[in-house]
Amino acid sequence: MTRNNEHSASETVRTNNAPANMGTKASSKFTVVLRSIWRRGEGKFALIVLALWLAVSLLSLVWTPKSLWATDGYHVWAKPSAAHWLGTDGTGADVFSWLMAGARTNLFIAVLAVVFAGALGILLMSAMVSRSSALSNVSVVAVDALISIPTVLIALILAVPMGASVVVIIIACGIGYGLNLARIARPQALLAANSDYVASALSYGASGFSVIWHHILPNAMPTIMVQLSLSAGTAVLAESGLTYLGVGVPSGVPSWGHSLATSVKFINVYPLTVLWPGLIVTIVVVALNVFGDVLRDVIDPVTNPELREV
């Protein structure tokens, strides 16, 4: 059992890291983290769900059981059957196919929102621990002030010039979660910034950028990773919420929020159609949150002794 796991894990690592040209140390660290996650029950659940999500997203690009645009007005709101595994929606289109195609939109949104949030968060975090007291003070106050604006409000404001669009969700989530990230990662970064090794690096003439890259970022990374994985879950929720409000995914683009928004009106009459997208969103968000929790435990050498051995 263990051998098999190791085998598959190392394979994943090879394929994942081959183009990144990382050192063997980094790749073995990754293996250890992945293996540690897999070894926990909830971590296994999270990994399986996330892998399925990725697989379905890719599959939906080339195949869905029914075409998304095969509407049939004579068979709307149909119950699950052999022809339509999860029934049909209000236009007579196949719910299962729409949910499959929705997976890729949600994955796209979650990944981009996280990338954007990560970039913004790291940038702000760096500013907040900057040696220039003017920059750090201003950025701390700015982040504290901006963090009070709800993500939904940002999205609604963005939707005025841009209309309903995937970009609105990504930017709104990116800003909201980026600010959060900077705020949460700051203590870790500050601890590193005030450490002796940073002082000595600086005395050797290291640039501010180099200190951030080589010393501060690696120290804050566990916190950042955990926060980003939680953000990915929130981004999936935000997509559903914003699409329901009409400022998220535009009409015609498959997404779980779209499937929820179009069926929720009829929850009294056709509760099953609301159940499927709701269930998927719940499972994926739980998986992402669990993943974040497990990651927090296994990514830190203090709590994960295995990591100290590599």
């Binding site: 509407t71 004579y74 709101w77 015609g252 179009t262 009106k265 009829f266």
Partner: protein, 594 residues
Amino acid sequence: MPTNSGAYGENDATDKKTTGTAGNETAADNTRSTGANGDAANANGADTAANLGTEANNTASTDETLNAHVKGGSSGNGGKPGNKKKGWIWAVVAVVVVVALIVAFVVVRSNQKASNTAAEGHKADSVTVGLKLAPTNLDIRNQSGSSLDQLLVGNVYEGLVARDSENKVVPGLAKSWEKSANGTSYTFHLNKGMTFSNGDKLDADDVAWSINELMTKHYHDSESLMNFKSVTATDADTVKLDLTAPYDNLLWVLACRPGLVFDKDANYDMKTQAVGSGPYTVAKFVPDDSITLKANPRYWGAHKAKTATIVLRYFADDNAAVNALKSGDVQVLAPVTENLAAPFVKDSAHYRVAAGDDTDKYVLAMNSKGAKTSDVRVRQAIRYAIDHKQLIASRGGADKPLGGPIPSLDPGYEDLTGLYPHNVAKAKALMKEAGYTPDHPLELRLTYANTYGTELGDQLRSQLKPIGIDLKVDVVEFSTWLQDVLKNKDYDLSLVDHNESHDFSQWVNDEYYYNYSNQKVKDYYNQAMAASSDSQRDALLAKAARVVSEDAPADWLFNYRITTAMKTGVSGFPLNLNQTLLPLYNVTYRTSVK
């Protein structure tokens, strides 16, 4: 736009905002009443509460015992049984209080219910009607929106003439009228002994004053009273209205807002109050939430109110509305989305669901001057490609197919669905002729307001795909539609529900967003408006409508019919046209004897 009274757009911009708070309150109400309704639920609730109470007290007494025990070590055992007894008494007291509270709550609730719906087998004193679009104020002379017509015309205010459920003109305050031979002069003979709800007499002076005020102050809809010259009261019971040129639509227009008669001597705030001559008076007005109508004790006419109190409640949220009918908070719901009404259709022992005709036309306008849609072959191909029967089936099946601009309740109706029958092969051929195939599709943009849901856009996209049209659907805010489509005419395809009656004039208006212009249509229309008889007018309008439909400046997806759901025992509720014309005098609610 300014010259056209027929745009849905203009009408309902203000109607749509029923506040979120109202919805929340409703939800809260529902929960409450559901709790009170289900006896079993209550009994359980009471039990649980009682149990909880006992448990809580037991825990407390255990603690006390423990405390006593600890203390007992120093002060002796005497206190222990006494404390236990006390705890037991407290537990009983708590249970009694909780049970009493619940019983009181249930009794109060059921009393309220009883007063609402009266005893079984009796006619209820009060009927509550659930509607959708709420008026923001009561000023029917200035405030646009069909919800005001629905609420006030025929109920609180009365017109010189009225219209019946078939949209035909019938006597109102005037019992009869004559038209001069050249069609430019009308003489109205009023009923005798008419009064307003404040006791003032209603005579020819009030009629003339009301119409003169309308025209001089340009109140809402005054522009639809075309060719107006003068109106005078020749004696107390006779009014003479002169036109500059014949206008066949005059009587129908007078049955709507322009014909309403107000008390020239009364002084009241029209935004919150109403003094009219109708069978009801406005007793209470809560903006965006509810309106209470009470029977007018001074009512003069034949439409005497059969139910003393009618409450109109407005639900912006369809599910909240359905829940209100389920819980008995309302006895009638109009309109209800057909698919949502399914549970009521099934439960025919307690509910009745019926559809009525209306003049709502779901118009898929195709910009006649648009870069891509100016090609008539493209427009015709779209009309051939759309499977109207399927669209209607997916909505529940009550709506009617419509092949042209005039619905069955308007003059000049003719079944034109045969002009462009569903024919994908023909549509493909036309598109090919125009230079497009499924491999080399034409990209078109459909813009419509989010109030209509995303389904129609998705269905049209899928129906137009096989003929070589790549339809991009923009579901936008209503205000965006008004700006982009109605005002700037910047669109390929647009979808809107034109709900007004007698609105054919939009097809002879070059400035309207259709960008449609055809001299032949204008000639027919002008002849129709000057026609000497109704049958001649109808024939001319039918001819004009046929030409419009042939030119394919739009496709008429369907003629929407209103679905109304009500409790069995409700009678006299109008089904036709009830979103613009809702005479309530005949409504009664009789609970059946078990």
